[in-house]
Every structure is written in C-alpha cells, then in structure tokens.
Amino acid sequence: MSLQLHGAVGRGAFHRDASLSVNDGDVLAITGPNGSGKSTILHTIAGLVSLLHGTLKCNDDIWDAPANQMFIQSEKRSCAVVFQDVRLFPHMNVISNVAYGLRAHGVNKQQAHAQSLEALSQVGLHSFEFRAPHELSGGEQQRVALARALVLKPQVLLLDEPFAAIDTGSRIALRRLMPEVLATFPGVTVLVSHDPADVESLANSHLAL
C-alpha cells in the first residue's frame, strides 16, 4: 500500500516536476526553500490543486490523472491535512471541531463523540472537550488539528509545516507528541518542513526540492 505521485505540479505561473513514492507506515519529509513547491505538492495530493500532467495514485486508486480526465474531489479522498496556520473552525468548540469530519461522513452523534474523545486523548487533550479554539494556545490548537485529522483514519496524512506558526513555548509539547503519533499511524505520512531537525526526528525518507 502506497502513495505515488509522478508528473508535474503547478499553480498559477508556477510549475515543477515532482516524483515521490511513500509506503504505508512511512514518513516522507519534503524540504526546500520558499517557493520551491512544497505546499503545492501537498495541496495536489489533497486535491485542492490538480496535477498538470502525470498521475497521483493512492494504493490502486487513481486520484488524479489529467490525461485520463480522472480527478477525485478532495472530499472523496481518504486524506487529512494539518495546516501550517491550524485553521480550526472558530465557531465550534474543540470536540465539535474533531467530530465534524466524522459527522460529515455520516457517522452518528454518539459514535462520533466517542471516537473524537479517543482522538483527543491520543493528543493529550481530552479534558479540553468544551473549550473554544481561541481559548487554547497555538500548540494546543495544532494538537486539536492533529486529532481532527487522525480521527478520520485517513490513508494519507499531510502535515504542512505543523510547527511553523506555533509559539516556542507550546512547540515543545507538540514536538514530543508528534513522533509517538506518527509511530502508531498506519498510513502514509507526508511532512513538509524547512527544519532539518524535524526531518531527522520524524521522517524515514527525504525529498529535497
């Protein structure tokens, strides 16, 4: 089981060739200077941007292949993203944020609640259930975002510079948590970072742009 992307990605005037292949349980780190296309690759995998040419495959499912007019919409891809700027829903409390994806997939209220609590305890935040996002520190918010991604049990987990926008104080707890979480995550992980230390501690393969 794996994720494979071979082809060219681009957005607006920007485009570049890209080729990557990651197996289940592995973590691929993508590094590179600003403007090298790290985020564009991630957004292409997530389906927010489409491939220019080539193919994107998850296991045996083709997610994006412009030559064959194939494009699976984001919401149908088994793929979750943790954004650099967190992006929790500001109008929902913590538990609602985590449960939202499950509810959108038609999971009933009780099950969604139970699974979300489980995901929250996985990131050490189960007592934060009823807090509002703005009452949390940056690091705590990002842990909620991680729980929100994990609860969907995606085949592909995308981390877009998850430590970048977090204040130094709360970054430590997140840094400590991340390897534990990734070690138990069964699917493919793609991490975008520009910090060599993250690549060292989290990834087992590395793509430098």
């Binding site: 994806g101 959108a104 509002a132």
Partner: protein, 356 residues
C-alpha cells in the same frame, strides 16, 4: 484599544435579550412567545396605540401598505438572502433577480394569458426561483469571493433587462391584473384592505423562520457554517462544498421567489422598474445591518431598512440621509449587526451541550 472600540464597549452594552429569554422557565418562554406573536399579528393596529402609534406611523403613506408592501417583503427577502450570505457565506449582489422571477411567474400565470388561481401559481413561483438559483449556481459556485459577487450582480440585471425587452413579459409596461389570494372567512383580499395580506404574510414568515431554524441546526446548516468559516478545511473533512453551496443558493432563491409572488399579488402589477439593482443593495443592507447569519437580526434589519425611509418621508429627499446616519451608527457601535449571530457573540456551545 482604539477609541471607537472603547466607545463601543461603553455605549453599547450587550443586552443579552436572547440568553435572558432562554434562561426563563419553559412556561414563561411559551407565553412570552405567544404574546409576541399575537402582538405582531396586530401590527396593522399599532398606529392607533398611543405613543407606539406616534413612533411607528408613516406620515404621508398608509401604514398598512408600508407594512405589507415594504416591511413584510423585506423581512422575507432578508431571511432568504441570509441563507446565502449569512449561513453559507456567499456574497450575492443580485438577489433581486430571484425576487423578480417569483413575481413575474405569479404575474404571467395568473393574469390574462393563463388565468391560474393565485394558490396554484405560488408553488410554481417558488419552484421557478429555485430553478433559477440552481441554473445560476451550477456554473458560478466554483468561483469564490469577489468573482461570485460580480456574476450574481450581473444575474440580477439580466433578469430585469430580459423582462424589459420581452413582449411576453409585458416589456417596460409590465403586467397588471395579477390575481389575489382567495378570501378565507372574514378576510377578503382587496385593494382597500391590506390587513389580510399581513396576516397571510406574517404566517408565511413564521413558517419560514421555523423551517430555517430547523435547517440551521441540521447537517446542512453545519455544512454551511463550515464552508463559510473555511471552505478548504470543510472540503478536506469530507464536505461536498459545491453541493451545499448550491443548496444554499436554491433555498435562498426559493424564499426570494416566495416573497416576489406575495409582492406581485399584493401590488397587482409588476414592471421591470420594481426590480432595480438598488433593491439588491438594500436587501444586502438589511442583512448586514441586522446581523449577518442571525435570523432575528436580519428580520430587524429588514424592518428598519423598509420602515425608516417611510417614517421619515416628511424629510422629503433628506430621508435617505437619516437612513445613512442609522447605517453608520450601527456600523460604529454594533459592527456585527443589531442582533449578532449567536455563536459570534456568545462564543461556543457550552458545557453539557453534546451537539457535536
């Protein structure tokens, strides 16, 4: 803290009418609600009440007609536009187009050419507006922000210009002799008596409020708010954002069409000048003024936008000056609108609320 902000906090305390109301025991809430609804049904008689009468009366125009032709329509339209702008966060600057589709459908079906009864034309008007919403939404809802606003702006104008240039729709002269709703019991719908229109219209408003509040707290409503707050995140979490945006457009349009159908039968004639761009802007002003996303807010906004210019008709052309002053005051003191959206004002679901 900026000067306006400190000023705002000192001068505009949160009245918390909503949370105080919810804190009351159930029996008190029901009786207060019933009393309020009864008082609203009796609105046509308000000008006869001392003090209240002086406040609400509209010099130079019949209050009854202002109530039915302006206030009632603005409340309905604000509720419908709020689904699009407030719930789903899509900026629609051509909402008058749906209102016109509803009005013209009723006009065409009930006057000369087809002579349907009003009661049959009504559902068709809603359906036609809904179809117009889907037809406009399907190609355009992939656009975001400013682009969507521009396309919808164009749509409103297209409807008006089409009506203006189509002989079948009466051209610039429009269509007259539009059927009235059937009389029931002592209530006879006629030119001289606007009260039954208010009773009918207010009942429709109550039904719309009921349906929309159910919808707001359903899966659809939660998808709308997720799309509004962060479309990409919503999509990545499995929300078919396009589908729900299209639903918002269709439901919003349906309510606009309903308002148009009521308007056409009340006034008895329609022509393209009734559906100018300016009206779209006033509809949007009603929503923003009242509180985008808050149903009771947009009702208040609709009432004020419709009523203020009529109340101050004595000021002649300067009445829009009063209107402008009110708009600016609301923007300064209550930037979220007169009655802000509950979550924006009060934060997040409280402990014990298991609504996930």
């Amino acid at each position: 803290m900026s000067l306006t902000e400190s000023f705002r906090q000192r001068t505009a305390p949160q009245l918390r009418v909503g949370s105080r109301f919810r804190a009351l025991p159930k029996s008190a809430r029901w009786s207060l609600g019933a009393l309020l609804i009864a008082a609203c049904y009796l609105t046509p008689y308000w000008p006869d009440v001392p003090v209240l009468g002086w406040i609400v009366n509209t010099p130079g125009t019949s209050f009854e007609n202002v109530l039915t032709d302006q206030i009632m329509m603005f409340i309905l339209v604000a509720l419908g536009l709020n689904v699009v702008v407030g719930f789903a966060g899509l900026l629609d600057l051509g909402y008058v187009g749906f209102y016109a589709v509803g009005a013209y459908t009723t006009a065409v079906m009930t006057s000369g050419q087809f002579s349907w009864p009003w009661i049959a034309a009504m559902p068709l008007s809603i359906l036609m507006a809904m179809i117009a919403g889907v037809v406009l939404g399907t190609p355009t809802l992939r656009l975001r922000g400013d682009y969507l606003a521009i396309v919808t702006l164009g749509f409103g104008e297209i409807i008006r210009i089409t009506a203006n240039n189509s002989d079948w729709l009466g051209g610039p002269r429009g269509i007259n002799k539009i059927a009235r709703p059937p009389s029931f019991g002592p209530f006879e719908f006629s030119v001289l008596n606007a009260k039954p229109y208010w009773y009918l219209g207010f009942t429709v408003i109550l039904i719309v409020i009921f349906v929309l509040s159910r919808l707001e707290n359903s899966r659809v409503g939660r998808a709308w708010s997720a799309v509004r707050e962060d479309e990409d995140a919503a999509e990545l979490m499995g929300v078919n954002t396009f589908k729900f945006k299209l639903w918002a457009f269709a439901i919003g349009a349906a309510i606009g069409g309903l308002a148009g159908a009521l308007y056409a039968s009340k006034v008895g004639f329609v022509n393209p000048d009734n559906f100018q761009l300016q009206l779209s802007i006033l509809f949007l002003a009603a929503v923003v003024l009242g509180g985008t996303g808050s149903m009771y807010g947009v009702i208040m906004g609709g009432i004020l936008v419709a009523w203020i210019p009529e109340r101050f008709r004595g000021f002649s052309t300067r009445r829009y000056f009063v209107f402008g002053v009110v708009l600016v005051l609301v923007m300064v003191f209550r930037p979220q609108g007169i009655i802000p959206r509950r979550t924006a004002a009060a934060g997040i679901a409280e402990k014990g609320d298991t609504n996930v």
